[in-house]
Amino acid sequence: MGALVNFDVAFAIRIAPLVLEGVGHTILVALLSFFAATIIGFFWEMLRRSYWLMRPITQFIIDAIRSTPLLVQIYFLFFVLPYYGVTLPALFVGVFGLSIYYSGYISEVFKAGIDAVPVGQSEAAQSLGLNSRDTVVFVIMPQMLRNIAAPLGSYLISILKSTPLLAVIAVPEMQGSAFDVAAETYRYAEPMFVTEVLFLILALIAVALVTGLERHLGLSTPFH
């Protein structure tokens, strides 16, 4: 409580630009991880549906990814792999770790999104003589997109909020910058508070962008 009593607004404002230096990396990591996680998640789902034997195997991988803490996965990639001769740059580990972790969750979004398209849709496509690729691309996918837009957007926000974990492997994102300020000035209240506020602003912007995009693409309304 002492820190809050001593909260120095002028100091907080003065250090805000220092914390803000990390914002570029925060956004970069969040966006890269989101796109990679979406692509990998889609890949998992396609694999899961490809061949009956792939179903339990893929499900096991997805469950394993989701059942271990992200922080432990990041530690593992960054501190354990070098013992086996695999040394990866921190930024790469960060994006890779977040992508793999969230791909497990996003694959479930794709699963639900595809399952929600009535089976009669693919039957109609097949009865017209469309091959399976065209059925997926022109009939299933456009309808799936509508189902996944909202949950996918919320995973973007989740990923954004997970980026501070990368401070532990010294990715220079906002939380890391805040720790640097704290270590130099021995004051925690202001840099942590500034980080909170900046994340709140980023998250609100992201929500606005996602909602705006959904509306622009007509994804948030039922079919016509």
């Binding site: 009535p118 009669g120 849709q121 039957e123 109609a124 496509a125 097949q126 009865s127 017209l128 003589g129 469309l130 091959n131 065209d134 022109f138 009939v139 456009p142 309808q143 509508r146 039922p222 079919f223 016509h224």
Partner: protein, 266 residues
């Protein structure tokens, strides 16, 4: 409509029927879901230009049977030959066979994200590799055929059930199928919309389309069908001309089914 009724093959012209090429041959077909047998040794041949109505209580296997004809369901025993091609599970060229077999579903199954005209052109463009202009021309012709050309730019959800089902018929007709399958096409419709769909099906029949219809519309069966096939418990119990079928049903199960139908329609 009456002209079509006059044209059709009646019981007396069995010889003439046998001389007509076979469109669909179903021979000793059986199918199981796990241990439950849905089709029991079904044999049925449908000649070109013939109109067959399949009826029977729910769970009798009639939908499963016509879904085997375009292999939305696979059969485990027996032979199915469609337009001269024998259907086998996992066969190559199944898409080509399906392009010649149109299907209309109980729930319409229109593509909700596509406008009516794009519902009709999708398979022409993707499966028949047709240019968009040519495909749209064919689509408009068929939408006129089902008397709904003015709705071409609307989306399925903006149409009534009867209109949607007519679009579904037009969509199937665009592929110029040799055979049309109807799987309870009027069962999901409000009563006042049944007639517009049956009218379209009747004029299709009068144009000489080979048709297999699973339906409970006995008026349609009486007026349009060359043959009524009655199924129960996965078996074909009886098949006869409508006159024979309705007036002198042979089997006890057929009589029971018909008596229940007439009680229901009263």
């Amino acid at each position: 409509m009456k002209s079509g009724a006059a044209e059709r093959n009646t019981g007396g012209s069995e010889l003439q029927r046998m001389a007509t090429p076979v469109a669909v041959l179903i021979e000793g077909v059986s199918k199981w879901y796990g241990t439950f047998q849905v089709l029991r040794d079904v044999t049925l041949d449908v000649r070109v230009r013939e109109r067959i109505v399949v009826c029977g209580p729910s769970g009798s296997g009639k939908s499963t049977l016509i879904r085997c004809i375009n292999q939305l369901e696979t059969h485990q025993k027996g032979r199915i030959v469609v337009n001269g091609t024998e259907l086998r599970p996992g066969m190559r060229g199944l898409e080509e066979v399906r392009r010649d077999v149109g299907m209309v579903f109980q729930q319409f199954n229109l593509f909700p994200h596509l406008a009516v005209i794009d519902n009709c052109t999708l398979a022409l463009i993707r499966a028949r590799k047709m240019a968009r202009d040519a495909a749209e021309k064919i689509a408009m012709e068929n939408l006129e055929r089902v008397r709904i050309p003015e709705q071409a730019r609307k989306y399925p959800a903006q149409l009534s059930g009867g209109q949607q089902q007519r679009v579904a018929i037009a969509r199937a007709l665009c592929m110029k199928p040799k055979i049309m399958l109807f799987d309870e096409p009027t069962s999901a419709l409000d009563p006042e919309m049944v007639k517009e769909v049956l009218d379209v099906m009747t004029s299709l029949a009068n144009e000489g389309m080979t048709m297999i219809c699973v339906t409970h519309e006995m008026g349609f069966a009486r007026e349009v069908a060359d043959r009524v096939v009655f199924m129960d418990g996965g078996e074909v119990i009886e098949q006869a001309s409508p006159a024979q079928f309705f007036r002198h049903p042979e089997h006890a199960r057929t009589k029971k089914f018909l008596s229940q139908l007439f009680i229901n329609s009263r």
